[in-house]
Symmetry: C2
Subunit: 319 residues, 2 copies
């Protein structure tokens, strides 16, 4: 049972493949409370929205929040979504094609605003995190995959097919022989995601006899690669240089399209910190068209809460 | 001496390296009259703005246009320009760094709106040309160089350093050995501009003994390459395939960033027509992330007038 809340509130919901993060924000977008519920993906993900609906109801009962005080529900969705709210197969949730915005609005009788999770996280960082103070920004989220979100003048760019900011699947690596999850070859994600970094490291280890601490680690992970590179391991450094070369190029092509004021690096891999950012920066400065050479490259600061923050901002912006 | 004009008008000015195109538009953006004056680049390009000022004055005298009927002057500039109007070295004009918007406004006492010529041409095509009916669009202008402009929800994206849409200088060709004008290596422009196409053709001709009609042409041009490819010349076809492969990838990476509803191909090389567009399209569909696979790829329709049209639209949009 929480404290009674008698002012305007917003729900910022971040739907992930494992958990749904639920944030309760005040009318200015300040986080009051958050928790999470499991994402039930069985039965084609049909329980996800009803679980969220029930959870919101419970939070409101606990805190005696009246419906008229709820400004709206913002939701970040892990997949392509149009500005109208139609999802196009969120593979991670088991969803097909339907209008998630309309469905949630009709379930709750509340105003609902939705966006792709990466775009929404970008909006969160823009408003309340590492992007504060910049007018335009591209966030690149490097985790299991590589995603991204573009914000221009405070507005997230969704794209005509909900695929704006999806720089994980831009064609980048001409020499790539293996196929990406998406069916293409040479996607940025294939070398720059956590999985991609491990794949590159395995390949470098197999292709040479160079001694490396990476040959002794029990579990080859992106973190192990960065740790050994920081400790001066030659082969690990080559892996990091290869990966960050392509990440820098990915930012450089993005600058050629939208020329943002700032790039924000988030996601689990960004925990590799300054060492990682400096390497990306070095490649970016070398690969980008000169007018955009000084664009800021910074780390995200909201971590896993960015999605909830961004979802609440969708409501505040009435997007 | 023209007809007397007693209604609201707009001047749409497109400053090029050789001529300045001057369009007189009505208050709805309909072109009433156009002509051009030479671009005098001597003395650091210091005469260009005064020449335009004098020419506008003359047009107004000829048509008895009173100052209060002039809604404003829009100008497209061949170089990077910030949203505030500061140009950053228009190499083609001999200009340094100064605020062209403020200077023109103080010269004329009129409202002045400025933009990069490629962005402005894109706006023209969006409002009155091949982009009509689309909400978001990226225009790629393929001429001596490769430029571009991005329009989202009717607004041109300038970029933090005036370099949005500059996809001529995105890193694309990993195997490129030569240096681009910009100082980098592997820029899209190096293979996809008119000059780049000729360069690729020369290289293909030198690197093989394959018989080709291109060996007999007196003057190797992008047009000759396309003409011979259309006529079935094997080597010319390989050149076109190479060039359009990278152009398709360039559009694919752009889709990964902004996912526009439409790509518009303009500039002199686009005269190669459907044959060219189809080849770009084929590469694009193969290289792009699947949600954006059906994005329209169409040709620009306003030709050299796009810049004037777009400049007039800057005024109408109050940008």
């Amino acid at each position: 049972m929480g404290t009674t809340i008698d002012h305007k509130v917003i729900f910022g919901i971040d739907i992930g493949g494992t958990t749904v993060k639920c944030g309760l924000f005040d009318g200015e977008g300040v986080l009051l409370f958050s928790d999470e519920i499991p994402t039930r993906k069985d039965e084609g993900g049909s329980r996800i929205l009803s679980d969220i609906e029930a959870h919101i109801k419970k939070i409101c009962e606990d805190r005696q929040i009246v419906k008229s005080n709820i400004l709206g529900i913002g939701m970040g969705i892990p997949g392509s979504i149009t500005e109208d709210g139609v999802v196009n197969k969120c593979v991670n949730l088991g969803w097909g094609i339907f209008n998630v915005k309309e469905e949630m609005a009709s379930r709750t009788g509340l105003k609902v605003f939705v966006g792709n999770d990466a775009n929404v996280a970008a909006l969160g960082e823009y408003a309340k995190g590492g992007g504060k103070g910049y007018k335009s920004m591209m966030m690149v989220t490097i985790g299991t995959g590589v995603g991204g979100g573009v914000i221009i003048d405070g507005k997230p760019i969704f794209g005509a097919h909900g695929a704006a900011g999806e720089i994980g699947h831009i064609p980048m690596v001409e020499s790539e022989k293996e196929t990406c999850n998406c069916g293409k070859r040479g996607c940025l994600e294939q070398v720059a995601s956590a999985t991609g970094i491990v794949r590159v490291a395995s390949r470098f280890l197999n292709d040479s006899d160079e001694p490396s601490e990476l040959r002794n680690v029990q579990y080859l992970s992106a973190k192990a690669v960065f740790d050994e590179a920081k400790a001066g391991d030659g082969l690990a450094l080559k892996v990091v240089d290869y990966v960050t070369e392509y990440l820098g190029r990915g930012l450089a092509v993005s600058a050629g399209v939208i020329d943002p004021e700032c790039f924000l690096i988030g996601g689990g891999v960004s925990k590799a910190g300054d060492f990682f950012i400096k390497k990306i920066e070095e490649s970016y400065r070398r690969n980008v068209f000169y007018p955009s050479r000084d664009t800021a490259i910074v780390t995200a600061t909201l971590g896993n809460d960015a999605g909830m923050y961004g979802a609440s901002q969708l409501v505040l912006a009435g997007l």
